[in-house]
Each structure stands twice: as C-alpha cells, then as structure tokens.
Amino acid sequence: MGKKKLLKKLQDFFDADQREKERHVGDIKRILKKLKEKERKLQKDFEVCGAGGQSEELKQELDIVYAQRMKGVKIVKEIKGKDKDKDKA
C-alpha cells in the first residue's frame, strides 16, 4: 500500500466525522438494499395478481418504494459528492 493511501486510511481512522459519514452511507445503502428486495417482491406480486383493486394498491406501493429508493440514492450521491469536494480542496 502506498504511503499516501496508508496516511489517508490512518487519517480516516482517527477522523470521527469521516467515520460517522461512512456509517451513515452504510446505513442508507443497507436500507436501499432492503428497499430493492421489497421492490422485487412487490413486482412479482403485481405481475401475479392481475387486474383489480389489489393490483392498484400494489402498483402504488411499488411507486412509493421506488420513490424512496431514488431519494436514498440521491442522498448517498450528495454525501459522496461533498466528500469528493473536500478531498479536492
């Protein structure tokens, strides 16, 4: 491992803010993963159930989960974007 990389790792290790940020991103990624699994399950149920009241409810739930996932992705991008700006600075 290069000295620079090692220094950065040491810096991150001692940097509480950075650790917190990484934990935060990790949390959101875990939630996004679960949302993705939920979306897959809902999609399967939607394809199976056919037309009717239940399919409308499933479609709505799918849209909600998708919106939540997109929001989560945006938040992760924003956090990582701020990180990159900090590194560049």
């Binding site: 959101i28 939920k38 939540q68 929001k71 989560g72």
Partner: protein
C-alpha cells in the same frame, strides 16, 4: 319504555284536568312557574360553577363532616339538590371524589333541601309574596339581557327567585279558590291507611313534577288553606322525600356507573328514612310538638310544624345512616360494577427503568403503546363501534352499517379516566429523564413524546367529530348518512390496519418499518381528496344542502387529522429499531410534495 309511556299519560291527564277546572289551572300554573323558577336558579348558579364551586368541592370533601356540610350549605343556597348532585357525579366520574364523599354530599343535600319548606312556610305564606316577586322578575330579566356572564348569572338567580315566589303566590290563591269548589279535606284519610295512601300520592306527585321542592310547596300551600289535614300532609312529605329518588333513578339509567351508584345511595337513604318516619310517625309528631313549643311556634301553625317534621326526619335519617356509609359504598360497588372510577396510572414507568437509557426508552415506548390502545378504544367507542369487533376479522363495512345508531359516549370522562393520567406521567417521566439521558437516546424520547401528543390530538379531534356524528343520526338525508358512514369506516379501517401492523412489527422484528408508513400516508391523502370530491359532487347535484356540505367538509377534515395523528404516532411507536437506523430511514421518508408526485403518477 317507562319514560315513553309516562310523559304522554301525564300530558293527557293534565290536559283533561286543566280543561275540567279553571281553579286547577291556577294551581297548575303556579307549579309550572315555580318549577321554571327553579330551572332559572340552577342556570344562574351554573354560571358561577366554572371554578369557584369546583375549587370549594375539592378542598371541602376530604372529611365526612366536610362533605355533609358542603351538601347542606350548597343546597340551601341554591335551593336545588339536583345541581349539587350533577356536580358530585361529574367529580365522581373522573375519580377526584370518592363514593363515600359523594354519599356524604347527598346526605347533606337532603338536609339542605328541607330549608325550602322553611322558606315557604316561614316567609312565603306569611307575606304578600307576589309583591316581592314582581320587582325581582323585572330586575332579574334586565340583568339577564346583559353581556357580562356574572350579571347574566345574577339576573337568572334573581328572576328565578321571583318566579319561585310568584309560583307560590299562584298556588296559594289557587288553593283558596279551589276550596270554594271542592273541599279536598273531605277526602282526608286517617290511620295507617291514610298514612300509606298519602305517602304513595306524595311519591306519585314528586315523580310527575320531578321536584320534591314543588311537591312540598303544593303540600304547604294546601295545608295552609286546610285543603289537607296535618297528618296527611306529613305522609305526603314522607312520600315526596322518597319520590325524589325515583327521579334520580330514572335520570341515572343513562348515566355512568358513578351516577348509578350515587342514585342507589340516594334511594337507599331516602327509602330507609321514609320507612323509619312511617314506623315512628307518632313519635315524630310528639317531638315536632315539643320543638314547636320550645321555639314558640303556635300549636295550630301546621305549616311550620310540617317544616320542622321535614327537617327532623331527614336529620334522624342522616344520624342513623352516617355510620353505615362505608358498608353502603362496599355494597354499591359490589352490586353496580362498572369501569374503574379511578384514573388509569402508568404501568411501565418506574425508577428502575430510568437507570439505563435503553430501558428508559423501552419503558416509555411500552407505556405509549398502552396509551395508544386506550385511545383507540375511546376513538372507536365515540364513533359507535366496538373495539373487539373492529380488531376481529368481521367485515368492517357490515359492522359500520349494523351500528348506525350511535349513542353518546362521554369522551371527556374516558379521557380523564384512561388517558390523561398516563399521558401526564409519560411527559413527566421524559422530562425527568432529560437531565440524565445520554444524547443517544434523546432523539428517541423526543419522538416518543411527540407520539403521545399525536395520540391526545387524535382523541381531541374525535371529540369534535362526535358532535355532528350524533346529529347525523336524525338526518333524513341518506347521502349525508352515507358520507358519515364513510368517515366512520375509514377511521376504523385505519385502526385495524395499524393494529395488524403493530402485531406484525412485534413478531417479525426489524424491517424497513418506518418507510412502510408512506403507503398509509398516500392512502390518507387519496381518501381525503376523494372525500372532498364526493362532497363537492353532492352539493353540486343538490343532493345535500350547502350547510350539510360544510359540516361534512369540516368533519372530513377532522377525520383526516385523526388519521394523520395516528399514522404519525405509529411511525415512532410501532417501529422498534436501532436509533441510528431509524434516523437514516427518516431521511428516506417521502415529504408531502414527494407523496403528491407519487399520487399524480398513479393517476
């Protein structure tokens, strides 16, 4: 059933008697004016009961002699035991007074009510009472038209007394003229037969007029013109004392269990006192004569002697029954069981849980779940549904249709009994914890406190909704009824869904629970839009009046708020997760704008 037959029967008999005899008209009018005077007096005193009387009641009933004195003095001043009884029942129902203190007040009220006889016999009949009545009425009515609540109250009291005096005057004159037509004294009965029959007549008269005061006035005025004999008057007085409890019993049939217990105590006291008076009538007559002699009341002043008798047998009753109050309480609580009169206390909030942040949060969460369960019961009962049926698998639409006849549910009493104590304890507990909590837990406690507030707000909004829900029962417009059924259905459906969610969250453990509530929120918004669209259409198509439409709009708004508060509460309380994960999930919860976008994309 009894109430339904009684009124038309009395109406018919009275109408016939009024048509038959013009003299009876005057007596009956006198009674009516007297009763109106009593109503006006009660109304007048009620304006002052906002704080003063309740504050006095709180401090003056911790000992038996205090409750007794309070009952006697307040009834003497207000000349109405029913107002004192109503206040006592409300304090009993929220657990601030206990039954023993309530019974003490009733005993005192029975004594206080005998001062009415003194007022009439000692003053009312001895002077030209109508001359006092007229200025009281004029000045009283003038005050009633003032804006100030205090002046209005004083006016009602003054006018009430004026009507009381006027009523007595009419009755007195009525009996004097009546005597020229029919001499009722010829129907006097002696011995035990007379005693029992006139006691029964006294009971019947009091039940009809719903006031022992009015009966006593009739008895005293009739006695003053010798329309009835002294002995028969005594029996009538005993009957009126017993008859007043039947009025209380009929009233208590639709009251809370506390009201029923108090009516039961009232009945026991008055019946036992009446029986003692009947069995020892000769002894009482002898004592009355002794007292009359001692205070220089003439031997033939039967009206004052009647007043002495009335006070004496009630006093004897109080002295005999006082030592048995404790046993009476036990007996009544055993016979008339009901929901606990005590205010519900917290179950999980204890000092040991406060020792650690995690246990502290858990204790508050558990208590908040308990608070929610009480609240959901109150909400469902207010909208006329049985919690056990809603939380079962029965068809909810059918349940709502089958329970169209909503009965009034005392939300305030239920709130005082089942919610306020726990809510206050949660807030106090969290506040205490804030001095010792670690920052890690403070976020959870903030949200739990907010959740408790949401629960209380949901109950308050349900109370607002109740007013029109009860009115709706009598609406002849089925479109209006249908919309209110939708409101009831949607609230019940949400509570059922939330309960299922809560059980699932507890049994299946961690999931992305918080985010699942966005589904509820979208549904809430959609239902709100649909409801408003439906009401608009009904108004536009002239299927409902605009006034009915605005009531529905207001009530659908209350419904929306109730559901929103419940969902906001559930987001915190039903999700058991790690603190940090919940914070991250909260960031992904869709805001209003994002929810609207989802709804629009569906449409």
């Amino acid at each position: 059933m009894l109430k339904k037959i009684l009124l038309p029967t009395i109406f018919i008999l009275l109408a016939y008697a009024l048509w038959l005899s013009p003299d009876f008209n005057q007596i009956a009018a006198g009674v009516a004016i007297f009763l109106f005077g009593m109503l006006s007096l009660e109304q007048g005193f009620q304006s002052f009961t906002g704080g003063t009387l309740e504050n006095i009641l709180r401090v003056s009933t911790d000992k038996l002699w205090k409750s007794l004195s309070f009952g006697a003095i307040s009834t003497t001043l207000m000349q109405s035991s029913s107002l004192v009884t109503v206040i006592t029942i409300s304090f009993l129902s929220v657990g601030i007074l206990d039954l023993a203190a309530g019974i003490g007040i009733i005993f005192g009220a029975n004594l206080g009510t005998t001062t009415g006889a003194w007022l009439i016999a000692g003053f009312g009949l001895k002077v030209n009472i109508a001359a006092y009545a007229m200025p009281m009425l004029v000045l009283g009515i003038l005050l009633v038209f003032q804006k100030s609540k205090v002046l209005k109250g004083l006016g009602a009291i003054l006018a009430g007394m004026g009507f009381l005096f006027l009523g007595i005057s009419y009755m007195k004159e009525g009996f004097e003229t009546f005597r020229e037509t029919i001499d009722l004294a010829q129907y006097a009965l002696t011995g035990i037969k007379g005693l029992l029959i006139f006691t029964l007549i006294g009971i019947a008269a009091t039940v009809v007029m719903q006031s022992s005061h009015a009966t006593m006035v009739l008895i005293i005025t009739a006695l003053s013109v010798q329309q009835i004999t002294y002995e028969n008057a005594l029996a009538l007085a005993i009957g009126s004392n017993v008859g007043t409890t039947i009025t209380a019993i009929i009233g208590a049939m639709s009251a809370s269990v506390e009201g029923k217990r108090l009516a039961g105590a009232h009945l026991l006291f008055n019946v036992i006192t009446g029986v003692i008076a009947l069995l020892m009538i000769n002894q009482f007559i002898h004592f009355v004569d002794l007292i009359a002699e001692a205070v220089n009341i003439g031997a033939s002043d039967y009206t004052l002697k009647l007043a002495i008798f009335h006070t004496l047998f009630n006093l004897v009753g109080v002295v005999i029954m006082l030592p048995f109050i404790g046993r009476m309480v036990t007996f009544l609580e055993r016979v008339l069981k009901g929901e606990s009169t005590k205010v519900d206390q917290p179950k999980y909030l204890n000092d040991s849980a406060m020792a650690f942040p995690d246990t502290l949060v858990l204790a508050v969460r558990q208590e908040t779940v308990r608070l929610y369960q009480h609240a959901s019961h109150i909400i469902l009962k207010t909208i006329g549904l049985s919690p056990s049926s809603v939380f079962s698998e029965q068809d909810l639409q059918q349940l709502v249709v089958q329970s169209r006849k909503i009965t009034a549910y005392d939300v305030d009493a239920a709130y005082e009994r089942s919610v306020k104590g726990i809510y206050s304890a949660i807030i106090a507990y969290i506040s205490q914890a804030s001095f010792t909590w670690e920052m890690l837990q403070s976020g959870s406690l903030y949200w739990l406190r907010e959740a408790s507030r949401h629960i209380v707000e949901a109950i308050k909004d349900t109370k607002h909704l109740q007013k029109n829900l009860l009115k709706m029962r009598f609406s002849s417009n089925h479109f209006v009824k249908e919309e209110y059924e939708k409101i009831r259905y949607q609230i019940a459906d949400l509570l059922r869904q939330l309960e299922l969610f809560r059980i699932q969250a507890e049994t299946e453990g961690e999931e992305i629970g918080l985010l699942s509530f966005d589904v509820f929120k979208v549904k809430l918004k959609e239902q709100d839009l649909q409801m408003n669209a439906s009401i608009d259409a009904l108004i536009r198509e002239h299927k409902i009046k605009p006034e009915e439409g605005t009531s529905l709009i207001n009530d659908s708004s209350y419904m929306y708020e109730i559901k929103k508060h419940l969902v906001d509460m559930a987001e915190t309380v039903f999700i058991i997760q790690q603190q940090k994960t919940t914070e991250s999930e909260r960031e992904l919860v869709l805001d209003d704008g994002e929810l609207m976008k989802v709804m629009q994309s569906d449409n």
